[in-house]
């Protein structure tokens, strides 16, 4: 056990911090210090500008190979980057669903040609990927999905029919990665393929709609006899093998829930801001033993998440993968985020009703226990696959 950073890792941290301290204010200045939510049309463009700033300096995808726009940072350096990013107040990554959800699958299942085309364009923000998994009648029960892709050998491609929904930032993206039933009459996890679909094809309608916080962060995507030619993307539009889409998709969900999607840096930064918020209130005569206790609890839970992640990264590096244990992690960070923000609103008192980063953050935190697999599904997975309780 050695919980210290090496000299090289300290230097990496200093480099990240110095860059962020210069570039974040510069980005805000470029947009007249009026940064909108990345989940609105105007704000998305601002955030794309930020994504390209990150990419140009090699910070968009730090852990990726240099050939695809990364800097081959270690997992430790990635954690340091995340800590610094959120400590500096870096915005939510509007490219995250490509970078964190699709890219790990492309690295594992993509052909060299697919990797060479998809990854650099994803890193640079040239192609913007959204997720097409959920459907109106396939949410937690994802395997009941009915969107179909019918093979058309004559024209050389697939014909898509059906509807996807809850597609985050779908209205602003250029491509969709999704699961489609390619074997007629197949059921559940069988006969599904993982397809990569440009959204500018004929027969696709994308309709954005408002989330609870009012931002147009959701979209529903309709496919109406949409023809996707095999050569729509170099290397083809199927990721992994035809009919293996379910296992292709699930292979990397553990990493999404357990590590990459919501790193501890995000929550340790929020917890530190919560401590500052309480300190400000207390300095104006607003000391409150109950709130102070909740702030300490939130800080400790963020710290526990940080320590648990150090353990997870070590275990992973030494050949002890987290596996289904990632479901516990998703439960932890999603519940922690809600608690941290609820405490902040309580500290703010009646003023919490006014729009602020805390009230906005609270509304977003409310979605955490729902997305990336609801917490009820995570509890089932944890109970059955980690604790070994009998399936129904």
């Amino acid at each position: 056990m050695d919980l210290t950073w090496s000299a090289a890792e300290h230097a990496f941290r200093d480099e990240v911090r110095a860059w962020l301290d210069t570039e974040l204010p510069a980005w805000r200045t470029r947009h007249d210090d009026r940064i909108l939510s990345g989940d609105t049309a105007e704000g998305f463009a601002q955030h794309l500008d930020w994504e390209r700033t990150l990419f140009d300096a090699g910070w968009a995808v730090v852990s990726w190979p240099k050939a695809y726009g990364g800097r081959e940072a270690s997992r430790w350096e990635w954690l340091i980057f995340e800590e610094e990013y959120y400590r500096a107040g870096g915005p939510q990554r509007v490219t995250q669903n490509g970078i964190f959800l699709l890219a790990p699958t492309v690295f594992e299942f993509g052909t060299p040609e697919q990797q060479a085309h998809i990854l650099p364009r994803m890193a640079s923000g040239e192609d913007l990927w959204c997720q097409g998994w959920s459907e109106p009648n396939a949410g937690s029960d994802l395997a009941s999905l009915t969107c179909k892709a019918t093979r058309d050998d004559e024209r050389g491609g697939w014909v898509l029919d059906g509807q996807k929904t809850w597609t985050t930032r779908g209205a602003f993206c250029t491509h969709l990665f999704g699961m489609f039933r390619t074997e007629p009459g197949s059921e559940r996890h069988k006969g599904i393929s993982y397809l990569l679909v440009p959204l500018d094809l004929d027969g696709i309608t994308v309709r954005g709609f408002g989330r609870l916080d009012g931002d147009e962060g959701f979209a529903e995507v309709f496919f109406d006899g949409t023809f996707v030619p095999d050569d729509a993307l170099p290397g083809g539009v199927v990721l992994g093998e035809v009919g293996q889409g379910w296992s292709v998709a699930m292979a990397t969900t553990s990493s999404e829930r357990g590590l990459t999607l919501r790193s501890p840096g995000r929550f340790t930064a929020t917890a530190d801001r919560l401590v500052d918020l309480y300190r400000q209130r207390a300095s104006h005569g607003g000391e409150d033993a109950v709130l102070r206790d909740q702030v300490a609890q939130g800080w400790m839970e963020a710290e526990a998440y940080r320590l648990q992640t150090l353990q997870t990264v070590t275990d992973d590096a030494e050949g002890r993968p987290l596996g289904a244990g990632s479901s516990f992690v998703k439960l932890w960070w999603s519940e922690l985020d809600v608690k941290l923000h609820e405490t902040a609103l309580d500290i703010l008192g009646p003023d919490a009703e006014l729009d602020s980063p805390w009230s906005k953050g609270w509304q977003f935190a409310l979605s955490g226990p729902i997305y990336a697999g609801t917490n009820e599904i995570q509890r089932n997975i944890a109970a059955e696959r980690v604790l070994g309780l009998p399936r129904k």
Binding site: A296, W299, E303, A304, L310, L331, R379, L387
Partner: protein
């Protein structure tokens, strides 16, 4: 950066785990409970009991393995290891609910005497298992295993005005309920295997350790107790998973019901996140990290809350069978609840964390 134990540390843990699985079974823990009825007529120790001699044998076995001197320098007959080496052992003593003052003797007092030159010449006897030590942290008047403890220290802040930590030797004490002809009376308590004696009055020396050493002794006690709570939590979870996988109602195992699964997943989650906090605190103490006290308090607060939740969940998922003296769950449930408040409860430790954060 590496957050994992060494192969040696894990092997030592496994050796202690195997030993306790054999020597400290539930029947042995139960044998540490008083037989028959207590002063109020309650039959607390009822159930399958091992021979009473096996209770003492647990302590001798730990001594033979060198575990009691794990935190004592080799010059003083110990193994010369650190908090990082014994934290997993403490967890195992929790898992087995060892009915002896392991935390007080091996994790607190023996290392404290090692740090202070063994001023009262008892260290050798603590390491070889012939004597047991106790500690009174934070003004507590309860001496666990007060029937057997023959060396006792208090660990406290000097006064409200002077927050410096001080370790004092307790030189003489009168137990509550003492009769003229006896020095000690075991109190009726929730977990009677702890053999708690309550002191009504006692005297101490002026103190024999400097403030940093005394604070470290306290932090070791809180850390070791947090580790025991994680171990106890895991034991209760294991018992419950086993039970609900077998017990059938409505034609299916009750553990196949989501209402049961979700409660157990939540308890397991709290334990899984308390454990790294405990291990991180052990590392912090072992390297004398400047934030070690905060790390220890984080560990104890999270472990206390996780163990209490797990105890409640375990009982609820067992149903009525868990609410009997004969079934083993209560041996661990009551130990956990006793330790939740020992060495500072969750609230005390949260206040300490808050203070260290400057709020």
């Amino acid at each position: 950066m590496r957050f994992a134990f060494t192969d040696d540390q894990v092997a030592f843990r496994d050796a202690v785990r195997d030993l306790l699985a054999k020597e400290c079974t539930p029947e042995v823990v139960r044998a540490a409970w008083p037989d028959g009825t207590d002063a109020h007529g309650a039959r607390k120790g009822e159930g399958s009991r091992a021979d009473e001699s096996r209770v003492d044998a647990v302590w001798s076995a730990l001594a033979d393995m060198g575990v009691l001197g794990v935190g004592v320098s080799e010059a003083n007959g110990g193994l010369g290891l650190s908090e990082l080496d014994w934290v997993l052992l403490a967890e195992e003593t929790g898992y087995a609910s060892v009915p002896h003052p392991f935390v007080e003797t091996a994790c607190v007092v023996a290392p404290l005497l090692d740090d202070t030159g063994d001023p009262h010449e008892v260290l050798g006897a603590l390491v070889d298992g012939s004597r047991q030590a106790g500690a009174l942290p934070l003004g507590s008047t309860l001496v666990p295993w007060g029937n057997a403890v023959t060396y006792l220290v208090s660990l406290d802040h000097r006064s409200i005005a002077d927050p410096a930590w001080v370790a004092r030797r307790v030189e003489g004490g009168i137990a509550v309920g003492d009769k003229p002809d006896s020095r000690r009376t075991q109190a009726d308590t929730m977990d009677s295997s702890r053999h708690v004696v309550q002191l009504g009055a006692w005297s101490t020396d002026a103190g024999f350790a400097d403030a940093a050493v005394a604070q470290r002794a306290f932090d070791r006690g809180a850390l070791a107790t947090a580790a025991q709570l994680v171990g106890l939590g895991r034991r209760m979870l294991d018992l419950t998973v086993e039970y609900v996988s077998e017990r059938r109602q409505f034609g299916v195992p009750v553990g196949s019901q989501q209402a049961v699964k979700h409660q157990l997943a939540d308890a397991a989650k709290q334990l899984r996140f308390a454990a790294p906090a405990v291990y991180g605190a052990a590392w912090a103490l072992s390297v004398d990290d400047e934030d070690a006290a905060r790390a220890v308090s984080t560990a104890k607060a999270l472990a206390s809350d996780a163990a209490r939740l797990t105890a409640r969940t375990a009982l609820q998922c067992h149903g009525a069978i868990g609410y009997t003296v004969e079934y083993d769950l209560h041996l661990y449930l009551k130990r956990a609840e006793s330790l939740v408040r020992a060495w500072g409860d969750a609230g005390w430790h949260r206040r300490r964390v808050a203070a260290s954060l400057g709020i």
